[in-house]
């Protein structure tokens, strides 16, 4: 009378626990190699872009390319693309909070170090 009813209760109709028996998704080797090649390309692009004089835009370009690379690593190597929506939501929330912190402080810094 101890475990079995628990099984009946806990696993039958269990939409809220998100599926305790989820199988990990399989990603083929080929996808990873392709992503890696793309990462190498973007690295080459960002190194050469650094040699071009774009003034203020150099930083923007460098960060943009870095963000693309980060996006590739997150989505494929770290499987975010294949995980349930919950993971992407949590990630988005964390990035949003970081952006608020960075943004608000930066704006204030610009204002006060300029006078």
């Amino acid at each position: 009378m101890s475990h079995e009813p628990e099984h009946a209760g806990a696993h039958h109709h269990d939409p809220f626990a998100g599926g305790h028996h989820e199988q990990p998704h399989e990603v083929g080797y080929g996808v990873f190699v392709l992503v890696w090649l793309a990462l190498l390309c973007f690295t080459a692009i960002t190194v050469s872009a650094a040699g071009v004089h774009l003034g203020k835009w150099n930083v923007v370009v460098a960060l943009a390319i870095a963000t693309v690379k980060v996006f590739l690593v997150l989505s494929f190597f770290m499987h975010l693309r294949y995980e349930s929506k919950l993971f992407r939501l949590m990630f988005g929330l964390s990035v949003m909070i970081l952006a608020i912190i960075l943004g608000l402080t930066f704006v204030d810094w610009e204002l006060w170090t300029k006078h």
Binding site: S2, P5, E6, G9, A10, H12, H13, D14, F16, A17, G18, L86, L93, S94, I97, L98, I100, I101, L104, T105, V107, D108, W109, L111, W112, T113, H115
Partner: protein, 545 residues
């Protein structure tokens, strides 16, 4: 309450005597991964730290009985209020109801057998204790005892030879402990709710534990990196906060408050959650506006991240930034007010039983409201220029942290004591102590509001003679407060002498923790329950009584 009848049949196996035969008490407690034991470990160590902090507070008020040096010199006074702040904030209020009652009751309230990562949970407590040991150890090792104030502001914290590094490392450990607890609880709520427990059937206490967990995860690392930079600054001279090296001390303030403002919501949310648990029980009513209260916790957690500048209005920030932070600060009153209105609406036409837990909940609403209103006063930029660094601020944060979280902690203690220990304290003495605490608290802190408004600075051991009367009244208030607290504590501890209770649900609570025996068995539930109704809805049988 419940029917009385003949024989008392306690469950043979509770979490307290599990594995009693095989292991020493040391192994059963210090190495236990049972969330209930960890909750008690946290609660006990936090109470010890609270007593230390309270003693330091007692000494502060003794010193302030007269102008000039009364029982200690200026340097000692600085150390005393620094330790008082660090102890109370990092070692009592921040872990707060989350680490103690949250650990004990989160799994029970969601129908789980433990948290998601029990060993990580134990590790969290070890980190907590180690951090506390480092903080107090720093008094005896290295330079003079730390005297920077709990806020560690640069440049003094960087330049002083006082033992800041060790204390800072201790705070780092405590912060890491906090992060791991938050991570554990968020995962637990996502993954371990029992069948039928949808998000909107969770107790409101669980909602606050969840949102507080996110605050811990996303805010605490910032103080972590700030402390790392502070340590590197002291040890290697990196110069991020040193104006002579191109750095900026105000940057330290930004980084510090980017964490420490969300930290105050880490402190208050679980306390509000406990109040949300107590009120339905003692008014015998379903909570009014469940979804509003639940989502207001989320609202508070989000707004928490965008108001930190209001701690820095006099630091030299640009006008437009200060105006922006001031405006944003007012927004936090909205979700807070939603909670307060809903609690009061719950009480309306309720069948009220004035027991100690409910008295503490009422005190919470009153005291926290005063704290909150004074917070709005401070949020008004022009007012804060005058009030910043006065005892007005001291009164404000004691009303919210002590009158708020502190009183909620005492209320939770009285509410859940019979569940954790199967003992009932003397209810009359408990109520008397609660009243004494309330009276002493107000006598202690109202003068600080008045004096601060009139210009009395904080963190000063000396003052102009015109403030003497106010300080003396305040100190007498502290004696009433401390006396009542000791009475409350003695009353609770004395309950261990009385017979164990047989009634697992003396207050007729409706949430799942009241459905298990007292003390709960180690496995929490013989069979994992399936839930079909909201957390505060009464059973049909109970209503029929």
């Amino acid at each position: 309450m419940s029917n009385g009848a003949a024989t008392a049949v306690l469950p043979e196996h509770t979490f307290l005597n599990f594995e009693e035969e095989e292991k020493s008490w040391f192994k059963r407690w210090i190495f236990s991964v049972d969330h209930k034991k960890i909750g008690i470990l946290y609660g006990t160590s936090m109470m010890l730290f609270f007593l230390m902090g309270m003693t330091l507070g007692f000494l502060i008020r003794l010193e302030m009985l007269g102008p000039g040096s009364t029982i200690m010199g200026g340097r000692t006074y600085n150390t005393v209020f620094t330790l008082h702040g660090i102890t109370m904030i990092f070692l009592f209020v921040i872990p707060g109801l989350m680490a103690s009652f949250g650990n004990f009751f989160l799994p029970l309230q969601i129908g789980a057998r433990d948290v998601a990562f029990p060993r990580l949970n134990l590790f969290s407590w070890w980190l907590f204790i180690s951090g506390g040991a480092l903080i107090y150890g720093s008094l005896f090792v290295g330079g003079t005892p730390i005297d920077t104030g709990w806020t560690f502001y640069a440049p003094y914290s960087v330049k002083t030879s006082a033992s800041v590094s060790l204390a800072g490392l201790g705070v780092f450990f405590v912060g890491f402990s906090s992060i791991l607890t938050g991570l554990n609880f968020v995962t637990t709520v996502h993954r371990m709710r029992c069948p039928g427990m949808t998000w909107t059937r969770m107790p409101l206490f669980v909602w606050t534990l969840y949102t507080t967990g996110w605050l811990q995860i996303l805010a605490t690392p910032v103080i972590g990196i700030t402390l790392v930079m502070l340590l590197l600054e002291r040890l290697l001279g990196v110069g991020f906060f040193d104006a002579s090296k191109g750095g900026d001390p105000v940057l330290f303030q930004h980084l510090f408050w980017i964490y420490s403002h969300p930290a105050v919501y880490i402190m208050i949310l679980p306390a509000m959650g406990a109040v949300s648990e107590i009120i339905p029980v003692f008014t015998r009513r379903n909570i009014y506006g469940y979804k509003y209260i639940a989502f207001s916790s989320v609202g508070i957690a989000i707004i928490a991240y965008i108001v930190w500048g209001h701690h820095m209005f006099t630091s030299g920030m640009a006008d437009s930034s200060r105006i922006a932070f001031s405006l944003l600060t007012f927004f936090v009153a909205i979700p807070t007010a939603i909670k307060i209105f809903n609690w009061i609406a719950t009480m309306y036409k309720g069948s009220i039983t004035l027991e100690a837990p409910f008295l503490y909940a009422l005190a919470f609403i009153f005291l926290f409201s005063i704290g909150g209103f004074s917070g709005l006063v401070q949020g008004a930029l022009a007012a804060d220029i005058h009030l910043h660094d006065t005892t007005y601020i001291v009164a404000h944060f004691h009303y919210v942290m002590f009158g708020g979280t502190g009183f909620a902690f005492f209320g939770a203690l009285h509410h859940w004591w019979p569940k954790i220990f199967a003992r009932m304290y003397n209810r009359k003495i408990a109520k008397g102590a609660a009243v004494g605490l309330f009276v002493g608290f107000n006598i202690l802190y109202i003068p600080l509001f008045v004096m601060g408004f009139l210009g009395m600075p904080r963190r000063y051991f000396d003052y102009l003679p015109e403030y003497t009367f106010g300080h003396q009244v305040s100190t007498v208030g502290s004696w009433i407060l401390i006396g009542s607290f000791l009475l409350m504590l003695w009353n609770l501890l004395r309950s261990f002498r009385s017979q164990p209770m047989t009634d697992p649900n003396p207050w007729n609570g409706t949430t799942l923790e009241w459905k298990v025996a007292s003390p709960p068995p180690v496995e929490n539930f013989a069979i994992v329950p399936t839930v079909h109704r909201g957390p505060y809805e009464h059973e049909p049988e109970a209503v029929r009584k």
